[in-house]
Symmetry: C2
């Protein structure tokens, strides 16, 4: 056994290793990022983070299908949820172990795990609470932090979003804390744009204070494009690989304009959206409208891609307090050259991939939960009320001990 | 505003106020106990606890019925669970506030809340985990600790049982920590017997170390008696008030012996049981067997009461490492004089109510969660592996900050 007392104490005051764990609503699997987090001061933005390793543990198809039944109001049953909560805890723990080994670190060198869990329900609007006089939003992530702490013998912070929801917020977006602490420039307005299932942006003025940061969901990310491709190919393809279908088609500007008339795009932030808004039903309407216009399949995909790019550019026009001077894109959408080219055209600023700022864009969301966990242990507020709509800054996350 | 800095610091090192919150499977409402917890040493048993106030906030009937649908595999839906998780957090917070006010304390004087939450599913046996190679138990409590922390601005520990389950345990019983730290005698074997829906006992040798404490569910508490009365009166009565029906009947010893032949009673601890074993179906069989023997209703109730008392006495015979010299009863069953008299007869030791040891028996379960929360903050192991079957001592509870 190696005595690592000296090393651990040497970095104890300002440097920690944290593993962030994330699984998105697409139910692909668990992303795990080992991060070195350095404290540079006392505030929520005074952290430097570097990604030491990044691994993805994909769910197998049967498990993905099982989780999809849990995340459905008609089929999500209490008994299955209780058991999957444990199973997911183990799956998340395993992903953390893979990333830790890839980083060449021992368990005792990891200070904390931050786990998002798997969202199985999210209520974005205020609803009446049963048995209560009042109303609230609600969110439910499973993947028990106690199980993670047990299996890999490491302090684990979980269940972040619920604390922001308890404070009146949407529980999203949470990425702005990472964006503002890692990617703000000293001399220009930067926008960090993530294109996952949903698109979300963080607008960072030069050297921002927390209250200067604006962040919100711009609308569909890959969700509409993916659903349109799935519908048009009758399930033969689930997404437009390399944007090749869109590149072969022509955009129907009138079709795009019609679908940009959706109320979500006009609503002012704070706002969040999801599959309930831009899911299959929206894509079905889009495909039907394209066929009505006698468009080729490629034209419909090109139009869906343009819709996505323009909804993002429109959002900057409408809601960015200062217009972006640079845009950095992460998420699966950054791998779609047609979308990236359309974004370049639609946005009046240079558009880059996040990698230009030195971070693997795929690792960003997982890295966020490493940062949030370190802030939780430091008892530093880690939500951004201006972005989430919460009444006040709060310290999100529940701590389970190994 | 009163400056209470001095008072708070004066008690900081060894005395804290904690509020314990509990709601049982009967879905009656939330019990809240304000406790003063004094640290007398560094171990799990080195706490003194006194109950400063005790309040119960009953669920209204509609809410109770709603919760019952959540706790049912056929009707417990993910969307309802997500919303009820928030609603219950508020309900628990309100109960804590009532108890705090009854104790005459300010919010800033309360150091921590310990909340059991509401169990909506519990898997007592190992089951195959979806997507995993292994098996596990599982348990699911709702009533979000983040909401409690938010609403009453106090650090909240929740979700205790899941940590013991993660360590391979049943997640129950948890009461032995309170029993062993508060009620052990220096010179004799004491048994603490709780008679709630289920009966459970803690056997305490003189001045026990943690490993000397044996605790397990003895079998039915009030559950069989209550169901039998409900069946016989066709729902006109839900329990045998003051044991009057049982007192008017005669025990059929052969009927009792037949039902004491249940495998649960023979199984060695650690063991836990619940409604799945001693619920309505068991009571229906009991009533049918009584009617076959042409017993009066009162005789059937008397026999169900004797079954309960004798199952408890048999458990001591079989599984208490040393035979009890005193028994202290808490829970609703302590209010049934016929049951208490039958226990006196069946057990070869004096039987008292817990109040004889200076604690309100109704407050005991809530007080337990105050104690567990303080131990969690102190990072002192608060499960009892010998009782729960866990692989090792762990520190249960997830901490949410205000």
């Amino acid at each position: 056994m190696i005595d690592d007392t000296h090393t651990r104490q040497a970095r104890a005051t300002n440097e920690r290793y944290a593993i962030g764990l994330m699984s998105g609503t697409s139910l692909d699997g668990v992303d795990a990022a080992v991060c070195r987090v350095t404290t540079t001061g006392a505030g929520p933005l005074e952290y430097d983070l570097s990604v030491e390793s990044f691994e993805t543990a994909e769910y197998d198809e049967a498990f993905r299908n099982h989780l999809a039944t849990l995340a459905n109001a008609g089929t999500g049953r209490v008994d299955d949820i209780a058991v999957a909560n444990v199973a997911l805890g183990e799956t998340f723990a395993e992903a953390a172990e893979q990333a830790r080994e890839a980083a060449g670190l021992t368990r005792s060198e990891i200070d904390v795990i931050g786990s998002h869990g798997q969202t199985i329900w999210h209520v974005p609007d205020y609803v009446q609470l049963p048995g209560r006089p009042g109303r609230s939003r609600a969110t439910l992530q499973i993947g028990d932090g106690s199980v993670i702490a047990d299996r890999i013998d490491t302090t684990t912070v979980s269940d972040f979003r619920s604390r922001d929801v308890a404070a009146g917020g949407h529980g999203a977006p949470l990425a702005p804390l990472l964006d503002a602490s890692q990617f703000a420039a000293g001399d220009r307005v930067r926008v960090l744009q993530n294109v996952g299932g949903i698109g979300n942006c963080t607008v960072l003025p030069p050297d921002p204070a927390l209250d200067d940061v604006v962040a919100f969901d711009t609308g569909p990310g890959n969700m509409v494009m993916d659903s349109v491709v799935t519908l048009l190919t009758e399930g033969q393809r689930s997404y437009d690989e390399d944007g090749s279908l869109a590149a072969a088609g022509a955009v129907d500007d009138d079709l795009v304009a019609t679908f940009l008339d959706e109320p979500y795009f006009q609503a002012a932030p704070p706002k969040t959206t999801g599959r309930e808004q831009f899911g299959r039903e929206y894509a079905e309407r889009f495909v039907a409208a394209g066929r009505n216009r006698e468009l080729d399949d490629e034209d419909i995909v090109a139009s869906a891609t343009a819709l996505t790019a323009r909804s993002i550019a429109d959002a900057y026009d409408r809601f960015a307090p200062r217009y972006p001077e640079e845009v950095y894109v992460s998420g699966g959408g950054a791998n779609n050259p047609t979308l990236m080219a359309m974004l370049e055209t639609a946005v009046d600023a240079p558009v880059h991939r996040l990698e230009a700022l030195g971070m693997n864009g795929d690792a960003k969301e997982a890295a966020l939960f490493a940062l949030l966990a370190v802030a939780r242990l430091d008892e530093v507020p880690n939500n951004l009320p201006r972005a989430t709509g919460a009444d006040e800054p709060v310290i999100m996350g529940k701590v389970s001990l190994p």
